[in-house]
């Protein structure tokens, strides 16, 4: 029997301890892979840091597979969950996702977001990202680059997120 869905509501400002997982920012996999870091800052429409967001990530394993189920009392493989800090920064230690076009699905939850903002960050050069059929509606746009993380130090990728305004990150209708 079809049922009406329960609507989304904001996570509010008081979620931290309830949703904080031990090592939530260290993503594990059943397979070994190339260690990388995804780090950045979340800014609002005034350019101020968003200091109370939760960031969740989900990605393919280093071999390009759906991450295998974890066991015991472990957190799930392939899944990251972190908070932004007082400067709006977040940091996820993970492994390079497998597949042709490595990318990580990301959801943002925060006070002032009545439903999550979803998007995808690519760990690949802009020209390759532009060709992704998922971004077809956007392929000629300058805005594609808001979804491309910039390699910095060895294994570190920098990705800043603007919720609103100049340089606004592309978010998905989902």
């Amino acid at each position: 029997m079809a049922q009406g869905r329960t609507p989304s509501q904001t996570i509010g400002p008081f979620f931290h301890e309830a949703l904080r997982w031990k090592d939530g920012g260290r993503v594990t996999f059943a397979e070994a892979g190339q260690a990388i870091v995804l780090a950045g800052r979340v800014l609002d429409g005034a350019g101020a840091p968003v200091t109370d967001a939760m960031v969740e990530t989900w990605q393919l394993s280093p071999l390009g597979r759906t991450p295998a189920a974890a066991s015991g009392d472990a957190k799930p493989h392939g899944f990251g969950r972190v908070e932004t800090g007082p400067d709006g920064r977040f940091r996820i230690e993970t492994a390079m996702p497998g597949g042709e076009l490595p990318c990580i699905d990301v959801a943002f939850f925060a006070r002032g977001l009545l439903k999550p903002l979803r998007t995808r960050v690519y760990l690949a050069p802009l020209e390759k990202v532009r060709a992704d059929p998922v971004l077809k509606a956007l392929s000629a746009s300058e805005r594609v680059k808001t979804l491309v993380a910039e390699p910095t130090a060895a294994g570190e990728y920098r990705w800043d997120v603007r919720l609103q305004g100049e340089g606004e990150t592309v978010f998905f209708a989902a």
Partner: protein, 230 residues
Amino acid sequence: MNDMTRPDTLDPPYLYPGYGSTLLRAPREPLLQIPAGTLDVPGPSVPRGFARDGENDLTRHGKSAPLGEKMILTGRLLDADGRPVRRSLVEIWQANASGRYAHPGDRHDAPLDPNFSGIGRTFTDDEGRYRFVTVKPGAYPWKNHAFAWRPQHIHFSLLGNAPVQRLITQMYFPGDPLLAIDPVYNSVPDEAARTRMVAALALESGIEGIAMGYTFDIVLGGARATPLGI
């Protein structure tokens, strides 16, 4: 083109001026329409051992019982086809009976309860059922507008079985006069959908002489993501 053109429009909009915090956090650009099914992939699988026995009883996390009206909160986690979402993680958080969160950011001048953290988690069973033992949270003031008070509520986080089922919501209480003027609750455009966030009083699912009973079923999206046979 915006998200209201999608078939599923029951969630609140990003920009809802009555809720001031949306003003600088709602995107202004149209959302990108991506090919159907792009995000409809299998999701994280949380091992059952991730929640320990007893984490669903918020009245036993201190040295003695917390203050407040004790309540048994039960319900089912379902997909949009009415099938149970089994063995799935449910995380909750709430204010204490005085309307204060055990959170460093909560400046409301109401007492903390040393016997109440307001945090619980559990897994649904094979029928999609969950159960929490807790106390009824108090209403609390917030700075959204003059004399603003949030209705009593419990925050819920559900992972479901797939990213398309991921849901964070709030459960409200029947007959709360604050619901009519709460912008967060009223940001959901459809009245029937709003009502689905309100628990039902079900005294017989409580404990005779000890705890009131409330029931709250949660329906997730993405029916086709629910694995069959697990």
